[in-house]
């Protein structure tokens, strides 16, 4: 059974001028297949940094700690190796790639992750079905990746990629932000489809709204670059009513 283990992770962003700034200050977290973990926290608490550091974005420097996937050292892997090992990051702001069509991109990604090129006909069918499930217009397959997509369309495409790549662990970085209720429902259905089985989910969010549609097994409160509280779904309700205030103070003093 797939397990992502994050141990005492410290991450800095260096900008050269005034030295590196530590953003993550000792994160411990274990995500197993079939589990849904929600990470909630105020803006600037380091939630997205956790997502990008696990995915291997070059901007973030791991200063100490470890990340393993089924015992394999993730931090030793390049960005694409991590993806092929079974990690997936749904981005908060997917970039536009002019001239690279959605279908070309998806097929290249699926080929890389599965280790062999899917048969064109079968892949086309698979892609079309997945697009249908997410109410994505099939015409999007021919468009440039994310170019001119609305915020909601971009997020749905992230989930589309997730469904086609079937990762072991998916990190969703504020996939719910900027979505209207209808789009949120479609995206949540997608998350529920794949989280039921082999995939562990790390759902990073600022709002409790998405947790009405996606039921987390664990809720972690993130503040000041660390997890400052953990619990079950009831913790999300508490945050809904009381906000992050007391945790922000705890995070700063820690």
């Amino acid at each position: 059974m797939a397990t992502l283990e994050i141990r005492d992770l410290h991450v800095s962003v260096g900008d050269g001028s005034d030295g590196a700034k530590e953003i993550l200050r000792g994160v411990d977290l274990t995500v197993k297949a079939g589990e849904i973990h929600a990470i909630m926290g105020p803006n600037g608490s380091g939630k997205s940094t956790l997502a990008y550091a696990v995915a291997g974005h070059p901007k973030y420097e791991i200063t100490s700690g470890s990340v393993t996937l089924d015992g394999e050292d993730v931090l030793e892997m390049s960005v694409d190796e991590r993806a092929r090992a079974g990690l997936f990051l749904a981005m908060q702001y997917p970039v536009e790639v002019p001239g690279v069509s959605v279908s070309n991109f998806l097929r290249s990604a699926v080929t890389a992750v599965r280790g062999e090129a899917p048969k064109l006909r079968e892949f086309t069918k698979e892609m079309k079905r997945a697009m249908d499930d997410l109410s994505i217009d099939p015409a999007f397959a021919q468009r440039s990746l994310n170019e001119g997509f609305s915020g909601g369309e971009k997020k749905r495409h992230e989930i589309l990629q997730l469904e086609l790549l079937r990762p072991k662990v998916a990190v969703l970085d504020e996939t719910d932000s900027g979505l209207d209720v209808d789009a949120l429902k479609v995206v949540s259905e997608g998350i529920n489809r794949f989280s039921g089985g082999e995939t562990g989910v790390l759902l990073i969010t600022h709002y409790t709204r998405i947790l009405r549609y996606v039921q987390p097994d664990f809720v972690h409160v993130f503040a000041g670059g660390r997890i400052v509280a953990a619990g079950g779904p009831e913790l999300a309700e508490e945050l809904e009513n009381e906000g992050y205030e007391k945790y922000v103070k705890a995070g700063v003093s820690a």
């Binding site: 995915a55 291997g56 974005h57 070059p58 390049s78 960005v79 694409d80 991590r82 993806a83 092929r84 997936f88 990051l89 981005m91 997917p94 970039v95 790639v97 002019p98 001239g99 690279v100 070309n104 991109f105 290249s108 990604a109 890389a112 992750v113 440039s144 990629q161 790549l165």
Partner: protein, 384 residues
């Protein structure tokens, strides 16, 4: 020479207004001149100072062979210097152009008769046989009223070559030109390609520059009746040590004409140099002009150099649209990260981004064989 008072009616860009068939009317460039400041004169093998012309023996076999595969109904002639159709649409505007005009022995004249719609492209193959001797050429393409044709100028081999190309597009006619520069590494090519558009004429000029040591192409457009429409596209890929220069001029002198310019290039390797000059003038009388020009460069490695200079001069308040943009940047780390985060290895991700960037233009090439050739050539560049 007396002092001239600047007039609001006249554009500042007047470099092209000095035009002459006589080489002696142009001073030998020294490298500081606005027109020549980006060009490595020392690598021109004397095309600019007269020495190349002296060396080009008229009795020797022509160092650049011209072979034309014409569409049915399209007439192709090889004519002498005195043919009245040659040199009518364009008067040389720099020293090398005037040298080419003074030194060519035979011109190729391609005529698309009135109302003829050419069913296949007419392909002009220019084969450089010897870069050690300079060659000079002239090509005139005449598309008579209401006719339509596609012409491919396919440059290959080893050459030291200067030429002028005239496109005369008649009333309501349409001409699509693809000028492919896939020279061998030792070639030097300087060319002026002028399109003269009559009323309601349409012209698409595609320049593809891949090979050669120094390639300097100057496409220009003039309008001689309302309704003219010019689209100028360019794709280039500069490797280590290569100098690829494109100097565009669109001179809107007539009301209600349109122009679009989109040039995109990639650069890789030490001292790869791309120059793009885009001059667009909208004169006071050219009301209702609609123009947009764009140049983008994708820098793939350290050590390259890009000079991109868009100039847009508007002398009337009554334009339908006018804009320009120039952007040169490194291959975007965000793009690579996104593709890699989906399992695509870095090198493949890089290829996808470059292919995508240039592909948006390449897919506009109307001739499938050329389109495939260009796509394959880009792949070969990426393999280097």
């Amino acid at each position: 020479m007396g002092l001239e008072t600047a007039s609001a009616e006249r554009p500042l860009s007047t470099l092209h207004e000095k035009a002459s068939y006589d080489v002696a009317d142009f001073e030998v460039p020294k490298g500081r001149e606005e027109k020549w400041r980006f060009t490595p004169l020392r690598r021109l093998r004397g095309l600019h100072d007269g020495t190349a012309a002296e060396g080009s023996a008229a009795d020797a076999t022509d160092p650049v062979l011209v072979e034309v595969e014409a569409a049915p109904d399209v007439k192709v002639e090889r004519v002498g210097r005195d043919d009245p159709r040659v040199g009518r649409a364009y008067v040389p505007t720099d020293r090398v152009s005037a040298q080419a005009y003074a030194s060519f022995t035979q011109a190729t004249v391609i005529t698309v008769p009135r109302e003829t719609v050419a069913t296949t492209p007419t392909v002009v193959r220019l084969r450089g046989e010897d870069a050690g001797h300079a060659a000079f050429g002239h090509t005139t393409v005449i598309v008579e009223p209401l006719a339509k044709a596609t012409v491919v100028l396919d440059h290959r081999g080893s050459a030291t070559y200067a030429d002028n190309v005239e496109f005369v597009v008649g009333d309501g006619a349409a001409l699509s030109v693809i000028s492919m520069h896939d020279w061998a590494d030792d070639s030097v090519h300087l060319s002026h390609q002028h399109a003269r558009l009559a009323k309601d004429a349409r012209f698409t000029g595609f320049v593809i520059s891949l090979g050669g040591d120094v390639v300097r192409i100057a496409p220009s457009v003039s309008y001689h009746g309302p309704g003219g429409d010019a689209e100028l596209y360019g794709v280039y890929f500069a490797d280590a040590g290569q100098h690829l220069e494109h100097r565009l001029l669109v001179d809107h002198t007539v009301p209600n004409c349109r122009s679009r310019v989109d040039y995109r290039g990639a650069l890789q390797g030490d001292a790869a140099h791309a120059v793009w000059i885009g001059d667009v003038i909208i004169r006071a009388e050219a009301e209702g002009t609609d123009t947009y020009e764009l140049n983008r460069n994708l820098v793939l490695t350290d050590g390259t150099r890009v000079d991109s200079v868009p100039n847009l001069e508007i002398l009337t308040g009554e334009v339908a649209g006018a804009g320009h943009a120039s952007a040169s940047g490194r291959l975007d780390d965000q793009h690579l990260f996104y593709l890699q985060a989906r399992g695509i290895p870095r090198d493949q991700a890089r290829r996808m981004v470059v292919r995508g960037f240039l592909g948006q233009l390449i897919e506009r090439i109307e001739v499938p064989e050329v389109r495939e050739q260009v796509a394959a050539a880009i792949e070969a560049e990426l393999d280097r």
